[in-house]
Amino acid sequence: MRIVHYINQYFAGVGGEEEAGRGPELREEAVGPGKRLQSLIGDEHEIVATVFCGDDYAAGTAEAAEEILSLTDDHDPELVVAGPAFTSGRYGVACSAVVAAAHERGLKAIASMHEDNPGLQDAGAAPVIESGESARRMKGTIERLAAAVQKLAAGEHLGEEDGRISRPRRVNVLADAPAAARAVELVLARLGGDTERTELRPPDFDQVTPAGPVEDLSEASVALVTEGGLVPAGNPDGLESSRATLWLRYSLEGRDSLPEGEFESVDGGFSTEAANEDPDRMVPLDVARELEQEGAIGRLHPEYLVTTGNGTAVASAKHFGVEWAVELHKAEVQAAILTAPGSPPSS
């Protein structure tokens, strides 16, 4: 099979963090970890091209995956391999976006990363094979990936025994009995001591290690970000009230507050009345400006980032989080205040 391999700028050997903003490029050969992969998958399969891209660009640009794949159009790939990304978040997100887009195009696609990588959930229906935690585990990781690539190329199903860590896709079906009747069956099984039977397995959420404290807030650039759906009145860019698929940015330049009537929350998950009466309650620009003028914070980031949290899939939220982190990191922001809405306490 004709294979295209996706890797980041670091594994392509073109540079580290200083090259993270670099756009995608193509080489007509196996590069970096691809060389070992090529030697393991034999003559039957050929890495016809390697595409590499900077992590910031790949994880922080909405169309990056399409751009990466379109570079390969002239090479007629049949299978796309991405990674291994190990625990590197931006790289993992990019690998997942590439294989998800390749799968949507009807190509076979497979990624490799560690199970704690935040990109894991973005791979869509494409399989993700477990890698070690870091490049020190490259050898075993590539061997496992090579075996999985060969199985995938042969049209075989990849399961846990192949190191598959992406969850199987869940599809809606109609059961024979209503959910309430199934609950009665399940409660009887549970009463009989069965702790295995269930229709649904809980997801494993990763734990995020908090960043260290800001050393000197009076020198720091601080951003305001929100999942409270606060947008200019009339919602000009169509942010969803629920199940968000996008995030937006709006300028705060020249403003000391967010006046009633000029901004509104479109979030469908809480009573927006108080937020709409004073949008500063959702994005606290008024007090943030005061702190900036007092010198308590160095500088307020000139725009706020916004999405809607209500009903938004965890995978989408994670993706937005990575994009926001890239965005703020690039802008040299040291701290962000993330506001989330809640309904008023029960009366």
């Binding site: 809606n172 309430a180 009747a181 009887l188 229709e199 998950g269 009573s271 009903g311």
Partner: protein, 369 residues
């Protein structure tokens, strides 16, 4: 008001609440206590039910999210209203009315209309008679007594549920007899998350209570209604007290249900965990929020001790709806910004009661092979 019936090439959009027509005969008290009759305990005597019919409000209210009922095609079986004759009430608020007043008037009107319809059939011979004994105070035989713990959404106006006419917000877990539900002790005023909604119609026909009553191996112990507080400490308190109430009542197990999205997952998760912690086996009914492709984590707040979960389907998965000749409730589907008659792809989340948290439906999820 207009009728729409199963099999018609029709669609109801912007569906708010739905009520099953019910009435009491002479001298037997009233239905919908706290709204149409005094707020006194109900659930005794004879209740007349106009089975196969529903009174449905449809139109714009703030915070209500787009919801759709199909009267024909594959999607008709995803909603209880897809197989009932529906009297659809559309409305136009007076320009000086507050939305809160519109909501109150609509609810009152809907309940009155439901009673009026049922009363019209009081003289007719019943096609079926069901006897529903009150839940027994003690075990009647060696079958396990199972509680139906029913979380009611309490997130303020347009996202509220009423018990005997008052919001459940701020209340502690309360044991009620399942027959109180039959007479409309619980009325919905909750218009968010249409796929995850529990309309009054479904409270009147509580699926878990009905399934336990139908079981030969388990006995319905009682119904414990709980609010879904928005505050974490309150969620924990209500959950611990619900578990303790089960223990006090001597229930052997519990089935826990919710209303609403991810926030309400926490209320089930805390309760099933609190129950298992004190040795009462518990099952939770969850909907999956696994993204369009079904590959994202399905729950935002999973239980950590309890293991038994029923899935009522993935609310993000999309399905296709065909073109229809007739649309009620509105001219457009805002979620897709299309004419309400058009064919469209729409998530299960927008199909009224498709993933009903009280367990009405047959929708579930499987792993793709």
């Amino acid at each position: 008001m207009s009728w729409v019936s199963p099999g018609e090439s029709a669609r109801i959009v912007k569906v708010l609440d739905a009520v099953e027509p019910r009435a009491k005969g002479d001298g037997a008290g009233g239905v919908f206590p706290g709204f149409l009759s005094p707020a006194r305990p109900v659930g005794l005597g004879t209740t007349h039910v106009l089975r196969g019919a529903a009174v449905v409000a449809a139109g714009y209210l703030p915070r209500a999210q787009e919801s759709v009922v199909e009267m024909s095609g594959e999607a008709a079986q995803l909603s209880p209203l897809g197989s009932t004759h529906n009297l659809v009430v559309e409305f136009e608020p007076s320009s000086d009315a507050s939305w809160e007043d519109v909501d109150t008037a609509l609810r009152r009107g809907l309940l009155k209309l439901a009673v009026r319809l049922a009363e019209a059939a009081l003289e007719a011979d019943p096609t079926a008679v069901e006897e529903l004994p009150a839940a027994p105070a003690q075990a009647q035989d060696d079958r396990p007594r199972v509680a139906a713990i029913t979380n009611l959404q309490t997130q303020g106006t347009f996202k509220d549920v009423f018990v005997y006419g008052s919001s459940m917000a701020g209340s502690l877990p309360t044991l009620i007899d399942p027959n109180e539900l039959e007479d409309g002790a619980v009325v919905s005023g909750q218009y968010g998350h249409p796929g995850l909604k529990n309309p009054t119609y479904i409270h009147q026909n509580h699926p878990v209570a009905a399934a336990l009553r139908a079981s030969e191996e388990a006995e319905l112990g009682g119904v414990i209604i709980c609010p879904e507080p928005v505050d974490q400490a309150q969620k924990e308190l209500v959950s611990a007290l619900a578990a303790r109430l089960c223990k006090t009542c001597g229930f052997d197990a519990a089935i826990v249900t919710k209303e609403g999205g991810g926030n309400a997952d926490a209320d089930i998760a805390l309760k099933v965990d609190a129950l298992e912690e004190i040795g009462i086996p518990a099952v939770g009914l969850f909907a999956e929020m696994a993204g369009r492709e079904g590959t994202a984590p399905p729950l935002v707040a999973p239980p950590t001790k309890a293991t038994a979960m029923v899935s009522t389907g993935n609310y993000d998965e999309e399905l296709e709806l065909g073109e229809v000749e007739r649309a009620l409730g509105g001219e457009r589907i805002d979620l897709r910004d299309v004419d309400a008659h058009e064919a469209m792809e729409i998530p299960h989340a927008a199909i009224y009661c498709a993933l009903n948290p009280l367990g009405w439906g047959r929708l579930t999820c499987e792993d793709a092979t």
